[in-house]
């Protein structure tokens, strides 16, 4: 199937779902605005309540390992170098030299120009190479440049692409434009998985987060992702809760499963466990796999490793006992 056919498919599917013969901005707007609203206070109360779950002993062991395996170990700095990326890849391959049973993270996430370095360093380890694309983080470039950014990263060996949506277009109600851009990037990805970053911190309202989630899924996202990490607030539990509700309801509607990736600001094991509880109780345990849930993080890995050591040895560990890469 050619890439053009795939785009036609996404648009045709969207038309079917919306019950229209031609997808227009007006029909998309009507559909997105017809989604149930989100009450901020109720949503945050629910998230806070999930955050009070107490995860102990065997459950904690399982959750820490699961969380490690769901990490997209990330470096997205202007100062990134091949050395830094190789070092991060090495950390991904051997997260804890003191315990070979430690699971590996799901992917290493880098800028597109570092994708080849990461691919080379990770080899056939099974750890994915994720590259941010589409003029990350602002997304302020022409469609042509964004598509080139994508194909370039895929060509360099990225098998996962983390794109950003055009928040300007979204906030000004040009949903069709956002839809088309995601669909085209998805084509450009070829076999690579597409994560769509909505930059929820710029969307501000939970209603917008819900609409952006549905718009991204409609346009062909494999994952929906909260944030670039460059804007505050980045990932929050309530925002992730809404996205998990979206993928849950999307599956009910289409039978298709879309993954969720909160990114930015998740630094502690305690936080990670709250997210896993939320995944478990909102989307369901089918999402408790790196195929469907990821953490975009860097320092989180070491905190999980410290907790893992504590569970193994019974003694609290310290920063000197985990490696910095």
């Amino acid at each position: 199937m050619s890439t053009t056919d795939a785009a036609v498919d996404v648009t045709a599917r969207a038309g079917d779902l919306l019950g229209v013969s031609r997808l227009t901005n007006a029909t998309l707007t009507g559909w997105l605005h017809g989604l149930p609203g989100v009450d901020q206070v109720g949503c945050e109360a629910r998230a806070a309540s999930l955050g009070t779950r107490s995860i102990k002993t065997t459950a904690k062991q399982w959750a820490i390992d699961a969380a490690i395996s769901m990490i997209d170990l990330t470096t997205l700095e202007g100062a990134d170098t091949p050395g830094k990326v190789r070092s991060l890849a090495a950390k991904a391959l051997v997260p804890d030299p003191s315990d070979p049973a430690t699971p590996r993270p799901a992917a290493v996430c880098v800028y597109g120009d570092m994708a080849a370095i990461a691919r080379q360093a990770l080899g056939d380890s099974g750890i994915h190479v994720a590259a941010v694309a589409t003029a990350f983080p602002s997304g302020r470039a022409s469609r042509r440049v964004k598509l080139a950014d994508t194909t370039d990263a895929v060509a360099a060996g990225a098998d996962e692409i983390d794109m950003v949506i055009d928040r300007g277009a979204f906030l000004s109600g040009r949903y069709l434009e956002v839809f088309e851009e995601i669909a085209e990037v998805k084509q450009a990805c070829g076999d690579a998985h597409l994560k769509v970053i909505m930059e929820t911190g710029e969307l501000v309202t939970y209603d917008n987060v819900r609409r952006a989630s549905w718009l991204s899924m409609l346009a062909g996202a494999d994952f929906i992702k909260t944030s670039t990490g460059k804007i505050q607030p980045a990932a929050t539990l309530p925002v992730t809760l809404i996205m998990l509700e979206a993928v849950r309801d999307w599956r009910e509607l289409t039978a298709a499963i879309v993954g969720v990736k909160p990114a930015g600001g998740i630094r502690t094991s305690k936080d990670a466990l709250k997210y896993l509880v939320t995944v478990n109780e909102v989307a369901g345990e089918e999402w408790l796999t790196p195929e469907r849930f990821r953490f975009g993080a860097s320092s989180l890995l070491n905190d999980l490793l410290l907790q893992r050591q504590k569970l193994r040895t019974g003694a609290y560990s310290g920063a000197d006992y985990v490696t910095i890469d």
Binding site: D39, Q40, V41, G42, V204, Y206
Partner: protein
């Protein structure tokens, strides 16, 4: 000298749902004046002797009027009540005569009572659109919620009007009930019912919707238990139990407990019941007793 004119007398009837029916029972009873210092009471009129079925009909009328009256704007209720005071003023002569004969007062004293009654009505008329601000308000809850409490009428109030003060006392118990948006079934003073019917005529010719005030004359001891036990009555004012023949207000309160009516007990101590001094400026309790507080919560979010 021409012979004295034979005057045309009024038939005093009940006031139910904006109309003036006779008692369904067909009964009436003689009302006598009790002038000071006169040995023999003088016949005044035959008043309708209302029955339990009249009371029942009055409750139906009062229920029918609840939605419109409680739902009217407070400003509108204030306007309507003020209009009642205007009409009372225009019927002043008759009210004075009624009070004079009913209570056996000197004309100047009766004038003063009627003035006080009209002024009291005006006082309550002015409360309609103030109460919510005085009694309600925003509750500063510890969370992201808008939380507000406001008074609402409780519904139908059965009123045992005072036995002695046939107009000032009557006004003092009826006005607070309807100023707050309730509707009333008033059991008039048994021995002195005529001012109540004249007041009803003032109400009927003002803009008070039918059923908002219903007046039943008759034997307090006969009708009151039916109102106290009526399950579609939301509250009862037992003020008129004081000096009412054959009335035990404790029994009425006990009957009222059946549907947890809001009860305004008669003044007095212990099991006594005394009629209050109606010349004192009222407080709010005659209104607050018949108000519910409704609290509404809503989250505040983006």
């Amino acid at each position: 000298m021409s012979p004295a004119r034979v005057d045309v007398r009024k038939t005093y009837k009940l006031y139910i749902d904006g109309a003036f029916p006779r008692s369904e029972s067909g009964r009436s009873y003689a009302v006598w004046s009790t002038p000071v210092g006169r040995a023999n009471p003088r016949f005044l009129a035959n008043a309708a002797m209302g029955s339990r079925k009249d009371a029942r009909d009055a409750v139906v009328a009062a229920r029918g009027a609840v939605k419109g009256w409680a739902g009217a704007t407070a400003y509108n209720r204030g306007q309507v009540l003020y209009r009642v005071a205007e009409v009372m003023e225009s019927r002043r002569a008759q009210l004075v005569e009624d009070v004079r004969l009913s209570e056996g007062l000197a004309p100047s004293r009766a004038e003063a009572v009627v003035s006080a009654a009209i002024d009291r009505w005006v006082w309550y008329a002015g409360w309609t659109d103030k109460l919510a601000q005085v009694l309600g308000g925003l509750n500063p809850v510890a969370g992201p919620y808008f939380d507000i409490s406001a008074p609402e009428p409780t519904g139908i109030v059965a009123v045992l009007a005072p036995q002695r003060s046939s107009l000032l006392g009557l006004v003092s118990v009826v006005a607070p009930v309807i100023a707050t948006g309730n509707t009333a079934v008033v059991l008039a003073s048994q021995e002195r019912p005529l001012p109540a019917i004249t007041l009803a005529e003032a109400l009927a010719t003002s803009d008070v919707p039918a059923g908002v005030v219903n007046v039943v004359t008759g034997l307090t001891g006969e009708v009151a238990p039916w109102l106290a036990g009526h399950r579609d009555v939301n509250a009862i004012d037992l003020t008129g139990a004081a000096d009412a023949e054959g009335v035990d207000w404790g029994e009425l309160e006990r009957a009222a407990a059946e549907n947890l009516k809001r009860v305004l007990r008669p003044a007095g101590t212990g099991s006594d019941a005394v009629e209050p001094d109606w010349t004192a400026e009222p407080g709010l309790s005659r209104m607050t007793t018949f108000l519910e507080t409704k609290t509404v919560w809503h989250p505040k979010g983006r």
